[in-house]
């Protein structure tokens, strides 16, 4: 008998776990709320640290998930937990009886408007990391016209309790360094500044791009959070921060400021979580059975988690997490689920 598995979310985590579970012989149904598969990856141009085209990676994921039943533009309307399975009614009218649910609802980019002092949506020359990726993809953005001085503000909506997020978003430092290099490549005469609190370049080759940004591109790294931004008479930006290494306040006039919006728990994911009664932690991300030993299992039996639904992750981490989640689903469906008699006991022991 082929078990039905419902995967919620068609981003990298959802696609990768769908592909793995399908290979294992399960009947996988994937739903995606937006009209397109790929999540944030579909909107990104190149990926750190090696500037691999995002389309290439996404293409591989989509090829892997070929044959999976995918419903785009589809959300969950209602969920009923039966004895062991879930009866899920979708917004497209279809009802799925699913033996396991994998939530891969990902993350939302922090809404940079909320950092009022940075003036995103108010000042003409302020944009976000996502806007810049869109520019790299399309080649047009009204804000970018041969900028002479470009700033990157790290930690926008990350490590900022006032913005509702105490933790680090993990990917912004590397993204900022990558984008700084790309902007220097596009505009070799530009001066580029990165305003950081700590450079959290923990991954393999990440330090290399940092060095490259300094050595080959002359990117200036300033240790200090951007504190406020104003617009000058000529439309340029006046940016203030402290150079905490020098221990002095600092100001600079910029032609463009890119805000490195961090990761926030997905709003859509939260709604689905509510339907499933999934617990969330203080940081807004879904709680897991054990952060170390069982980080792809929800505290609720039969519900699994993959990717940024359980906290900020880089893309390779997300994909590894998705594969691990697929293994967890498989273990559950072979070891616990089929034993109708001892199901409750087994869940107690092994979940």
């Amino acid at each position: 008998m082929k078990n039905n598995i419902l995967i919620i979310g068609g981003g990298p985590a959802g696609l990768e776990s769908a592909s793995q579970l399908q290979r294992m012989g399960y009947n996988v149904i994937l739903i995606e709320k937006s009209p397109k598969l790929g999540g944030h990856l579909a909107k990104w141009d190149r990926l750190f640290p090696d500037s691999v085209p995002a389309d290439e990676v996404l293409g591989g994921l989509l090829r892997g998930a070929e044959g999976v039943k995918c419903f785009t533009d589809t959300d969950v309307r209602a969920i009923n937990r039966l004895d062991k399975s879930y009866n899920v009614r979708l917004t497209n009218g279809i009802t799925v009886l699913s033996d396991a649910v994998l939530v891969a609802s990902g993350f939302d980019l922090f809404d940079a408007v909320k950092k009022e002092e940075y003036g995103y949506g108010v000042y003409d020359q302020v944009m976000t990391n996502a806007d810049l990726e869109a520019y790299f993809k399309t080649g047009t953005d009204r804000r970018i016209e041969n900028p002479g001085k470009i700033g990157f503000a790290h930690c926008v909506g990350s490590r900022d309790e006032k913005a509702g997020c105490r933790s680090c978003s993990k990917v912004c430092c590397a993204t900022a360094v990558k984008q700084a290099i790309e902007m220097k490549q596009a505009f070799p005469n530009a001066e580029v500044f990165c305003f950081y609190m700590d450079l959290r370049l923990f991954g393999r080759h990440y330090e290399d791009i940092y060095l490259k940004a300094q050595k080959e591109y002359g990117v200036r790294f300033i240790r200090g959070r951007v504190a406020e931004v104003s617009e000058n008479y000529d439309g340029t930006l006046l940016v203030k921060a402290e150079d905490t290494v020098a221990g002095k306040p600092l100001k600079v006039t910029l032609d463009l400021l890119v805000l490195m919006a961090g990761m926030r728990p997905s709003g859509v994911g939260k709604a689905i979580g509510d339907l499933l009664e999934m617990p969330v932690e203080e940081d807004g991300y879904f709680a897991v059975r054990s952060g170390i030993a069982a980080s792809q299992r929800s505290p609720i039996p039969g519900i699994f988690l993959a990717g940024a639904a359980t906290g900020p992750k880089t893309l390779p981490e997300t994909l590894a997490d998705a594969r691990a989640a697929a293994m967890e689903v498989d273990r559950y469906l072979t070891e616990i689920f089929p034993d109708a008699k001892n199901y409750k006991q087994l869940v107690k022991e092994r979940w």
Binding site: V113, E116, G121, V122, S230, E231, Y233
Partner: protein
């Protein structure tokens, strides 16, 4: 600048302002700096808008100046404040309107502190009873006087005899708005429009036909800063603050500065004189300064009050060029006449500031 972006933020920071029955508390220093402003406020609200505004001669200072100068224990300040509130309740009011920003900030701070620490509130209640035999009460609405003018800005515009427009060019006047720091920087949600893009004064200017100038150092303090000003040795810092603001707004060529705090119009006005006389630099047109007015004064001007009744002669920076631009009729001979018609004497002319 994307106007829609600011509108979106403004819509997030709206506060409830009651329609009528206000208990009005004056500001200590405004009464000596710009005494006509409060009088104008009462005249507009009572006589032009027909509101019930009550004030009592028994209210005192809020204690803010002493508090910010670190010369008074917090409990004492809170008891003074509790007495003010008790007076309001005693007279049957629950909408507390204060004229001073320092007071407004301190009231907000005190109410928040009481909310966080009920045991402190209990203690103050006891203090109040022990010292004044008054019943403790808290206002239902805490409002700054500028909030009221903001609320009735459109009614004022309807009664206006002129707009904030340069009659010679037909262009709207360029107005710099400056809120007092303690209006919304401590508690953004307590101020109309929040702290980043405060709307309370912007709303008035828009309603009365002016154009807002958004200059880089708009967030910066006027330079009052209690300890910076009170001690002469620190006064240079106060001056430098103001200087920084003027340097920043200079390229925008503003016609007028509008403020809602006791200290701001005073320092933005007087320091222009000090900067001019000590460095030779002036920021208005042709060696003039930029008039820094209170919101009541601006409201009075658009509603057709006589400039000398509004107390515009108490400003160091001459307001005549602004009056000319707005086509306000005035009698230069009456500029320095007292209320009783006696000549107060004109101040000595400045060397640099016209």
């Amino acid at each position: 600048m994307i106007y829609e972006g600011k509108q979106k933020i403004w819509s997030d920071y709206q506060k409830d302002i009651p329609d009528d029955h206000y208990f009005y508390v004056r500001s200590c220093i405004r009464q000596s700096f710009f005494p006509a402003s409060e009088a104008t406020f009462l005249d507009i609200t009572r006589n032009r808008l027909g509101k019930d505004i009550f004030e009592t001669e028994h209210h005192t200072t809020c204690g803010g100046i002493a508090y910010h100068s670190d010369t008074i224990p917090q409990e004492t300040v809170m008891t003074i404040i509790a007495r003010q509130f008790a007076l309001m309740a005693k007279h049957g009011y629950e909408n507390y309107v204060c004229s001073c920003i320092t007071s407004f900030g301190l009231y907000c701070e005190t109410l928040e502190t009481w909310r966080e620490f009920p045991e402190l509130e209990a203690k103050i209640r006891e203090n109040l009873w022990k010292s004044c035999k008054l019943e403790f009460a808290k206002p239902k609405f805490l409002i700054h006087a500028s909030d009221l003018i903001y609320k009735y800005r459109n009614q004022i515009a309807a009664q206006a005899v002129r707009k904030l427009v340069n009659v010679h060019t037909g262009e709207p006047l360029k107005v710099v708005e400056h809120i007092g720091c303690h209006y919304s920087k401590m508690f953004p949600s307590k101020g109309v429009g929040g702290a980043e893009y405060p709307y309370v004064l912007v709303g008035m200017i828009e309603a009365w036909g002016g154009e807002i100038v958004d200059y880089p150092e708009r967030r910066h303090c006027c330079g009052f800063g209690f300890r910076q000003y009170f001690i002469k040795g620190n006064r240079g810092y106060s001056l430098s603050n103001t200087h920084k603001k003027f340097e920043s707004m200079e390229p925008f060529k503003p016609d007028l500065i509008i403020t809602n705090c006791p200290g701001c119009p005073y320092f933005l006005d007087r320091w222009q004189y000090v900067i001019a006389e000590s460095t030779g630099k002036t920021y208005g047109q042709d060696g003039h300064g930029i008039p820094a007015l209170t919101y009541e004064e601006v409201a009075g001007l658009v509603m057709g009050y006589d400039p000398w009744d509004l107390g515009l002669q108490t400003h160091q920076v001459g307001v005549e060029p602004l009056l000319d631009k707005m086509w306000v009729e005035y009698d230069p001979a009456k500029k320095f006449l007292g209320k009783n018609g006696k000549d107060l004497g004109a101040p000595a002319p400045c060397a640099c500031l016209k």
